[in-house]
Symmetry: C2
Subunit: 250 residues, 2 copies
């Protein structure tokens, strides 16, 4: 019987070329999931199950709450599917939940919001235990200045200046519900909540906030950066390893 | 000028053959530290600085608070030494502190206590983000039973049954000040505090407590295991990756 199956997936993205299929490599999260599910379904050579993800994460980006779904023709229970996947997926991808869901559920189209965290490391010691999941900062930024700048980014704006894809044809208008910046010991975390994010957007937002934190830009410069719609006016794209998709809202 | 220099060191032991020098490999923590310090001291080919560690950690074991010392002939400040070491040590070894100390300080002989943590993972999900630092348990042990068993292990005993070295010639009497077992989410942590630990002792203690937790042994069996002085009577040696040296007391 055909069932629409929903997955909650977590992964350490260090070894992968991102979520989405790439030519000439099977080292993508989507590819690993599809391989396991195609094997489970006993599909003939050359046929594969299609797994739809809530969004694409870039190479090196992690997820604690990626949501995906797939149409499976199976008699297995949700728990049997989960146990099978856990057994055959590599050690850096885990399936936290499997649920049968309504036929109309689509993990990408039905998503109404996403939460990301960008984690930086501050300190003279190297982050030996977390080095795959943080970006080391060369100096300590001013958090109050960054919070002032973040306030200008919240709300609905055209984020074209914060989009990593210069050939983006579709709307670059997005709604950011909140940006929270928290320091805890050696960690400086940037939490982003919004209805959707453009390519590299969270990494460029973080790079721009850090420019403010370092004194290279003023918080009051942010509105002009937004209005410019010019990628060159925003800060640098931060490296992928500090970024984690925390949650997808439906 | 010759100075006795004390180091506080943290490392992810995954890639290493343990603390101590091994023939035919430079992948030991001691070896990496000695290489960097010998280079810093500008010693001639073949001569090396000797680094004394508070204890030996096994292959795959981690440390958040290893203490070591070395006699260095240097004009550098403590902070300059730390910065130099940080720069040249690999990404999985960090020097958190460097201090000049009294000539009589010896990181092994002056140590009066050590604290270790053994971390297990309970849950159907794989520990994708922490897989190098935890041991996955096949089932959930009974914590109250393990605490009862742990109480028999506290105090001063001959721990020969819990020693991984069958040719141990010296005293196997040790004092365990406390064993604490705490569950937090998917983590089950065993904290050990004592005046010193035999080879593999923390891993065998944990393996034995888990045998009690699984119902394969009774808490009341522990005194007989201790009295037997027989390694075969204790539980299995748990794998190294769950073990971390937390602190050395002086």
């Amino acid at each position: 019987m055909k069932k629409n199956v929903k997955f909650l997936i977590r992964y350490d993205g260090t070894r992968y070329f991102g979520w989405e299929h790439q030519p000439n490599t099977d080292m993508t999260i989507q590819g690993k999931l599809e391989n396991v599910l195609s094997r489970m379904a006993g599909l003939p050579e050359g046929e594969t199950v299609t797994v739809i993800g809530a969004g694409r994460t870039d190479a090196g980006v992690h997820a604690r709450g990626m949501v995906a779904n797939a149409i499976l023709d199976t008699e297995m229970s949700a728990e049997e599917i989960r146990a099978y996947m856990e057994q055959y997926l590599p050690e850096d991808i885990t399936v936290a939940e499997v649920k049968f869901c309504a036929e109309r559920f689509h993990s990408r189209f039905k998503a109404i919001g996403k939460q990301y965290c960008y984690t930086c490391w501050i300190g003279e010691e190297k982050p030996v235990f977390e080095r795959r999941f943080v970006t080391v900062l060369p100096k300590v930024p001013d958090i109050d200045r960054m919070r002032e700048a973040a306030a200008y980014l919240e709300g609905t704006h055209d984020f074209k200046a914060f989009c990593g894809n210069p050939r983006m044809k579709k709307s670059t208008v997005r709604f950011i519900k909140s940006i929270e910046i928290r320091r805890s010991g050696n960690h400086l975390r940037f939490y982003y909540q919004g209805n959707g994010f453009l390519q590299h957007m969270v990494r460029i937002l973080t790079g721009t906030l850090l420019e403010v934190g370092y004194g290279n830009m003023a918080p009051e410069d942010i509105p002009a950066v937004l209005e410019s719609l010019d990628r060159q006016q925003a800060g640098p794209t931060m490296p992928p390893q500090g970024l984690t998709l925390l949650h997808v809202d439906y």
